[in-house]
């Protein structure tokens, strides 16, 4: 945003630095060299959007194309939205300050369902017609991607294209197709969408599919309108992950953002296959980056940014085959340069003294583990292969290292959960407290503190639990109370997620195209920032469901039949439905499965080529 033109406005809003841009590391190109302008929108605040590694990667990857200019766009906070509407200021891109309606392609990353209302708010502020069907030849092509695009049906009416899977190779291809068609004169909106769906891989164009519903509300038909359009859109992955593009010169924000540090992506995918976890399925197959590549990237990023913290990101960092060698090599220069190393996703069963010693080097805080469920029976059912003794062993290591604070994450409402499982949560917290006092060389200056947090289980597409029912809102509240009532220790703190938000998220997660009307009604009522407690209104959602004549319980409060047509069947992630069903059956019998490294379960992801764990397992 131009600080000269909008100075008086910037002075009057909260945290103006999130709008002024000009950060170190941003890409500015000469418009006359640019043939495709990409506005990459993050439908939440600057502080959250700037923390997203995926956006960093795609921003850099697109800008590697000399004639493509990708800029960043974030959702203006409510005070700024008001000013923008009052003074007719359109939503603009950070780098150029140009209105997003002037761009060729406007992309939204869909990281969580609760951001959908922000997408509509941003389209409106940007002056882009809300419905894809209403857009004309001069309007930008609106595309969506990210984890929610795996079932994008609730927002299908608002998008022209969805990019399915990893975008660092796919998005530049889309930009190239756009440039080619513009230059050879074959471009029209419709022709481009058709070409994206039929000539490229990994692009889902919702308007090219017809959906019909049975009297019971389930989908009776979901088919392409043209035989050249694929029945199933196969997700894209980066086959050569070690050699893949990674931004070592990222944009460094001036104002504080949520994850303000060097993020190294150690590997993609997860070997575990927890049955509630969508990320564990959609990012398959597992691909590693080499220690050499990671160390080189870390040092380059340090030189380019001056950050004093490095975080090793991935779904479960201690599952990285070379975690010891990587941390050994990193620690040597992080200590020298007074950089701290953080490992945000530790598993209790592979946590060791050696790892503990490394992360307590420079700066350090408490430790967090995610047992997810309170009893072994339920942990087996969800395939979270962590035993109570692993957790107690892990916290003992932490206590021996002088830690006194431990956070434990759980989910409630998991399929097959009983009150015994729920009560296992406070019991486990008590056992952790006991372990503290059993630890000989503990930090005796401060009393121990265990914080337990429970999220409400939300069945997600492409997980073994995609057919499962979500428990009732009131039942969530009862189980939360059951936990609270069974904590008789001031050293144990209890936080829980709001069940109403989780209910709406569950509706959207497995929703179909009929939810588009609900979102339009939400937009009309001024909804935005629904991921923020202070802006979420359950009453507004209820009203929107009513106005759109949609029964939200249809999406959450029923077990789906194994043969029901699911809205996301149009997407192929490699992992097969047969495998997911097999896993669901195993869950019902509380039977865990092997992880990818112990033995292949034949999930289907091995159809992808490249340097994957699947290939290595086959070679063994």
């Amino acid at each position: 945003m131009d600080y000269k033109k909008y100075g008086s406005i910037l002075r009057g809003v909260s945290k103006p630095a999130r709008y002024t841009g000009n950060e170190q590391g941003q890409t500015v190109k000469d418009k006359k060299d640019v043939r495709c302008r990409f506005a990459f929108c993050f439908p939440d605040t600057y502080e959250i959007g700037m923390s997203n590694l995926g956006v960093r990667i795609l921003y850099g990857a697109l800008n590697c194309e000399p004639d493509v200019w990708c800029e960043r766009v974030y959702a203006p906070w409510v005070d700024m939205q008001e000013r923008m509407r009052e003074y007719n200021i359109p939503l603009m891109a950070h780098e150029s300050g140009d209105a997003i309606s002037e761009f060729d392609i406007v992309a939204f990353t869909l990281q969580y369902e609760m951001c959908y209302t922000n997408v509509l708010m941003m389209l409106d502020l940007g002056g882009i017609p809300e419905l894809a069907a209403d857009r004309g030849e001069d309007d930008p092509i609106v595309i969506g991607g990210g984890p929610c695009a795996y079932n994008a049906e609730p927002v299908a009416d608002f998008f022209d294209i969805f990019s399915i899977g990893e975008g660092e190779e796919a998005l530049p291809e889309l930009a190239r197709l756009y440039i080619k068609m513009k230059e050879d004169g074959t471009y029209s909106r419709q022709a481009f969408l058709f070409a994206a769906a039929t000539e490229l891989e990994g692009f889902y164009v919702p308007s090219l599919y017809r959906v019909e519903y049975a009297p019971d509300g389930t989908i009776s038909a979901f088919e392409p309108v043209d035989e050249r359009v694929p029945v199933c859109v196969k997700k894209r992955i980066v086959e050569d992950f070690d050699g893949a593009y990674f931004p070592v010169d990222p944009v460094v924000p001036y104002t504080e953002v949520v994850h303000d540090r060097i993020m190294l992506e150690v590997f993609r995918g997860c070997i575990r296959g927890c049955r509630f976890c969508q990320a564990g399925m959609i990012y398959r197959p597992v691909r590693d980056r080499s220690v050499e590549t990671l160390c080189r990237q870390a040092e380059e990023m340090y030189k380019n940014t001056g950050y004093d913290e490095i975080s090793l990101t991935s779904l479960a960092i201690d599952d990285y085959t070379c975690v010891d060698r990587l941390t050994d090599e990193l620690i040597e220069w992080t200590n020298k340069n007074k950089v701290s190393l953080s490992l945000p996703s530790l598993r209790a069963d592979s946590f060791t003294k050696e790892l503990m010693a490394k992360i307590s080097g420079v700066r350090s805080s408490g430790l967090t583990f995610a047992p997810e469920a309170g009893t072994q029976r339920l942990r087996d059912a969800i395939n979270k292969n962590v035993r109570e003794e692993d957790i107690l062993n892990a916290v003992r290591i932490a206590f021996e290292a002088g830690k006194t604070q431990v956070k434990l994450y759980f989910m409630i409402g998991l399929p097959t959960e009983t009150d015994e499982d729920v009560l296992g949560i406070p019991k486990l917290a008590s056992a952790v407290i006991d372990e503290y006092y059993k630890t000989e060389c503990r930090n005796k200056k401060r009393p121990p503190q265990v914080t337990i947090s429970t999220a409400c289980f939300i069945p997600k597409p492409f997980t073994p639990f995609q057919w499962a029912e979500q428990i009732d809102k009131d039942e969530f509240v009862r189980r939360q109370r059951l936990i609270a009532d069974n904590i008789h220790d001031r050293r144990i703190k209890y936080n829980f997620h709001d069940s109403e938000v989780s209910f709406i998220e569950a509706v959207l997660a497995r929703g179909d195209r009929r939810l588009g009307r609900v979102l339009s009604e939400m937009k009309k009522m001024g909804a935005c920032f629904d991921a923020w407690d202070e802006h979420f209104s359950y009453e507004r959602w209820q009203k929107a469901f009513e106005l759109a004549s949609v029964d939200p319980d249809f999406y959450t409060r029923r077990e789906r039949a194994a043969d029901e047509k699911l809205p996301w069947d149009v997407i192929d992630i490699g992992v097969t439905k047969k495998f997911l069903l097999r896993e669901y059956e195993a869950a019902k019998q509380s039977r865990p499965s092997k992880n990818c490294r112990e033995g292949c379960s034949g999930c289907g992801a091995s159809i992808y080529g490249g340097d994957t764990l699947c290939r290595k397992m086959k070679e063994q």
């Binding site: 600080y3 008086s8 910037l10 000009n22 001036y254 104002t255 504080e256 001056g306 950050y307």
Partner: protein, 224 residues
């Protein structure tokens, strides 16, 4: 170990980053400049940086200062080159030297305030010069809460003229640690005596800018 003082400007879009943001930003820039800056000892080591005066969000400055220590002998010319290479365009380094006085010896600071407002009249400079003849009462925020007080004792001097379609005010305000006056109070007081009313903040509408021009010591010399 040698103490080193860095003088720099805070301009353009960087006027909108907070004091806390500036501290974090400078800390990272010093790491990148690789000038052997001294780190604090202890649990959370970070480059030891002390800033002279905080600046309100939205205010530009041509006279910002921070102190660091560098290991060994300091070559100020070399340090300046290294910082100039790394510091962003809107945060240019203007000077690097060995400090002569301590920050607590700062006495005053000079500001340029430019007001562009539809209700400004040609008589504005005269009204402003008369402003100092009677109490200028503003609600001042202090550490212990808000209180009404006459801000005149904190205004060392104030002059103004009509220029480029607006009112240009040059004012020197007390800036010692006990009696720091934020220039925003002067903007408010001037707006009141001139009966400007609300600012219409639409693009191209009313606005004001504040720029810190110089910092002075007790003898009225530029602070070094």
């Amino acid at each position: 170990m040698t103490p080193v003082r860095v003088a720099f400007k805070k301009t353009g879009s960087l006027a909108y980053i907070s004091h806390l943001d500036l501290m974090r930003t400078v800390s990272r820039l010093l790491v990148r400049a690789d000038i052997g800056v001294y780190y604090t000892e202890g649990f959370n080591p970070h480059p030891k940086i002390v800033f002279a005066l905080p600046l309100s969000v939205g205010t530009e400055s041509e006279a910002e200062l921070f102190d660091i220590k560098v290991t060994g002998e300091a070559d100020c010319g070399k340090i300046k080159d290294a910082l100039t290479r790394i510091f962003p365009r809107e945060l240019p380094v203007t000077d690097v030297y060995v400090p002569e006085r301590k920050f607590r010896e700062i006495a005053s600071a000079e500001y340029e305030i430019f007001i562009c407002h539809k209700n400004l009249t040609a008589g504005a400079p005269e009204t402003v010069s008369h402003m100092m003849s009677s109490p200028v009462v503003e609600v001042k925020r202090t550490k212990t809460g808000e209180q009404e007080c006459d801000i005149r004792p904190f205004i060392v001097s104030i002059e103004s003229e009509m220029k480029d379609g607006g009112l240009l005010i040059v004012t020197r305000l007390s800036a010692d640690p006990e009696h720091y006056l934020n220039p925003e109070y002067v903007v408010k007081a001037v707006g009141r005596v001139l009966r400007l009313g609300e600012y219409d903040i639409k693009p191209g509408g009313d606005y004001y800018t504040v720029t810190r021009k110089c910092i002075f010591d007790g003898e009225g010399r530029p602070f070094r």
